[in-house]
Amino acid sequence: MKISQKFTRKLITLGLIVILSAIFALSAPSFLKLRNIQEILRVSAYTGIICVGVSFVLIGGGIDLSSGGIICFSGIVACRLACLGLPWPVVLLVAVVIGAACGFFNGWVITRFYLNDFITTLATGFVFTGFGLLTILKDESGTLMSQEIKNKGFLLLGKHISGFYYIVIVWVVLTLIAWFIQTRTRYGLHTYAMGSNSKSSEMSGVNVRRMKISTFTICGACCAVAAVFTVAYQTTAYLSLGSGMGFNAVAACVVGGVMLGGGKGDAVGAFLGAIFMTLVNNGMYKYGLDTSWQYVFQGAVILIAIMSDAGFAAFTARRLKALAEKANAEEALLEAQARAKGGNA
């Protein structure tokens, strides 16, 4: 028998995406334009790459709200390095190392001092933004300067190849790698175990502390990748880079079926969640809604997504319970029959 719960859950997000797209396509003619689709993918990729990292943390039972701060810090570093004329691989590498270091710090602080993830990453997010402020270009009097990147090689990262932005390609590749790690490697399976029950995993030989630190490190590195490509596209970095992304990425993951509290979901779900969130934004603009109604609409659609998730969870729970009971009853029956036969013989 098959219980393809994971797959069904993705169908829900996919279904919501299709329904939304259909509505937008029918009511807003510009929705299906090639350029619009490219744009949706580009914006999704920005959120999506962060979601890849956040999905690791969420599956492992944590939460990371510092993504915005890491994006800001690593993005500004990337911008400054690119302005120095360094080749893009160097810039990317340094930014990723910095992002990973920020993530490592998150994990280390949380596990070393037994802190709450939510508040800790909220706080470290501010710290990282502060580092960004320290790093950003200033003139002699200490005022911030907007720095335009003229480094041709680096700016290439923000460009597209026959309509596909490089960030989109990177997003897809990272998602596939993450999905492989999560479902096919020892590391990934241990992450699920940790998210499902951290005490049990400790008793089963999982080094929870090291695992937790590593999920945060992955998350930080992913944020840095997203930051570098976005900076290349925008040709500059500024202090509000990444603001609000922390909550946004978590929300996208949850919409995609990654469970808050851990143990469920994967990077492919987060991928779909990122598309969904971007789609909601993109479609909303098409109606020329009043700003206040834009927010109401956005919130309502996310609410619907989460509600259908909860509904699905309840449905699966019932179904699995019934399944287990039925199987037990059947076996009991078979056993009774076997016993009866044995008795006769």
């Binding site: 028998m1 098959k2 219980i3 096919r184 490697t185 020892r186 590391y187 399976l189 241990h190 699920y192 175990a193 499902s196 029950n197 005490k199 049990s200 995993s201 400790e202 008793m203 089963s204 030989g205 999982v206 080094n207 469970m259 143990g263 469920k264 699995l320 319970k321 399944l323 287990a324 199987a327 037990n328 076996e331």
Partner: protein, 502 residues
């Protein structure tokens, strides 16, 4: 009726899911007495208490308070009737003072504001009346456990409780704190308050109670006078008819393969622990809940790292890291499978294979087929039902969840298996199966250490039993000599003739 009864229950019955857990329970508590309630785990003590205090509703029977018939349907009714419970985990707010805690939820108000002066005055009056060593303005957080318990009692008295129910009040107290509590209880008795006292500890029963009700399998099996009754009588009443030993197995002990614990000390809980557990035998560890059994085996497994002393396997030191020990062939079935054992949302497959990825993966990448085969084989071998490897473990029955955890270790042929309360919440049929698997593993030469509160299990399954009392081993029962009664007596610090005193 010779004495005035504060509480009388008549033929209380209760069933859960068709299983009768209380059968015609009659309980009588006199005015101004300390009445003990004893029984093994699952005898129905807590169920009857929960019915009296309105947590559960009874299926049948009557309750009389002060001779008057009362209906108790919720906690509020119980409080109205003058019944108060002092729980094991105290319900005080540490950040508030004694006075604030006592009046929490029913503050005396004056012009819309709490009247602190009046409340303080009333608390002081209560303290004076009962002669407690307490200050009304002390922060609860700064007080010791005994004082906290006094505060809790005071809180109950402030609502004019006629009957105090104390559920294992001494588990978290030191010896001197326990004595302090007994003095307090005696003071209350003198002032006419009745106390229903639940405990496992025989010595406490002798020390402080007047009468004793003993329960077994949901029934009251005896009401005796605590001062005159013999310890043997109490334990045999609790255990009932001792089962005949079904032939003594002779374990094939390998004297060269053993775990040795030397001079182990863990905080104030354990001291001077010395023993060996040999390959081929099942070593049982008995003792009361809270006697340090779980902590002892956690030290061996490496889940507790900060102990003093040495633990060695065949002369080589045992690591203080769980993952290293698992690699070396250790396995553990923890006491509380829900919080420490399984992964509720994960499939049966993952729950079985989680500790075996060292064998099922190459370069960190898991071999999906090997993983499935491993799990399928384990599910078949240990008869996990339903045999659906993708079913989340939270959907299984308690017994099958336990089988999954056992399968996790047995499927990788562990060399040292530690089991902590392996059959709690497991039905009888599955229990027997688990014992077979354990025995089979022991016969292969593995070291098995089993902690259990289930006396029948401890005495039947173990080849040798060590009993903990006061933080160290008190008695050892070799060659299947352990009887339930002997173990129970030893757990309370009474030497039984069957065992050797250590």
């Amino acid at each position: 009726m010779a004495e005035e009864l504060i509480l009388r229950t008549e033929n209380i019955c209760k069933s859960f899911n068709g299983i009768q857990v209380l059968k015609n329970v009659n309980l009588e508590i006199r005015k101004g007495e300390i009445h003990a309630l004893m029984g093994e785990n699952g005898a129905g003590k807590s169920t009857i208490i929960k019915i009296i205090t309105g947590v559960y509703t009874k299926d049948d029977g009557e309750i009389y308070i002060d001779g008057e018939h009362v209906e108790i349907n919720n906690r509020h009714d119980a409080a109205e009737a003058g019944i108060s419970v002092i729980y094991q985990e105290l319900s005080l707010v540490p950040e508030l003072t004694v006075t604030e805690n006592i009046f929490l939820g029913h503050e005396i108000m004056k012009r819309g504001l709490p009247d602190k002066k009046e409340m303080r005055r009333q608390v002081q009056a209560l303290i004076d009346k009962y002669g407690f060593i307490l200050q009304p303005d002390t922060l609860v957080a700064t007080m010791g456990m005994a004082q906290r318990q006094m505060t809790e009692i005071l809180k109950a008295l402030s609502t004019e409780a006629k009957l105090l129910i104390m559920d294992e009040p001494t588990t978290s107290l030191s010896a001197s704190e326990t004595e302090q509590l007994f003095v307090t209880m005696e003071g209350l008795r003198e002032r006419g308050t009745s106390i229903l006292y639940i405990s496992h500890r025989l010595e406490e029963i002798y020390r402080v109670t007047d009468r004793l009700t003993i329960m077994r399998n949901g029934e009251v099996v005896g009401v005796v006078d605590s001062k005159t009754v013999e310890a043997d009588t109490v334990t045999s009443l609790m255990i009932g008819h001792e089962l005949e030993k079904t032939g003594v197995r002779v374990p094939n002990i390998n004297p060269d393969h053993y775990i040795e614990v030397k001079d182990l000390q863990l905080g104030n809980l354990l001291h001077d622990i010395n023993f060996r557990a040999y390959g081929g035998e099942i070593l049982g560890i008995g003792g009361l809940v809270g006697s340090g059994r779980t902590e002892l085996v956690s030290c061996i497994y490496g889940a507790i790292k900060k102990y003093k002393g040495s633990i060695t396997l065949d002369g080589k030191p045992v690591s203080r890291s769980v993952s290293k020990n698992i690699k070396a062939g250790f396995g553990m079935v923890p006491e509380d499978r829900r919080t420490e054992g399984f992964f509720p949302q994960l499939s049966i497959l993952r729950n079985i294979t989680i500790s075996s990825y060292d064998r099922l993966s190459r370069g960190g990448i898991v071999n999906g087929k090997a993983e499935t085969d491993h799990a399928e084989k384990a599910i078949g071998d240990y008869d996990v039902r339903p045999a659906m490897r993708r079913l989340p473990v939270q959907n299984l029955s308690g017994g099958n969840q336990q089988k999954v955890i056992l399968a996790r270790w047995l499927s990788r042929d562990v060399d040292v298996l530690i089991l902590d309360e392996p059959t709690v919440g497991v039905d009888v049929g599955v229990k027997a199966e688990l014992y077979v698997y354990m025995r089979r593993l022991a016969d292969k030469g593995a070291i098995i250490i089993m902690v259990s509160s289930d006396l029948a299990e401890l005495t039947e399954v173990s080849d040798r039993v060590l009993v903990l009392h006061n933080g160290t081993f008190f008695q050892e029962f070799r060659d299947h000599k352990a009887t339930q009664q002997a173990v129970l007596l030893a757990s309370s610090g009474v030497a039984a003739k069957e065992g050797e005193v250590l």
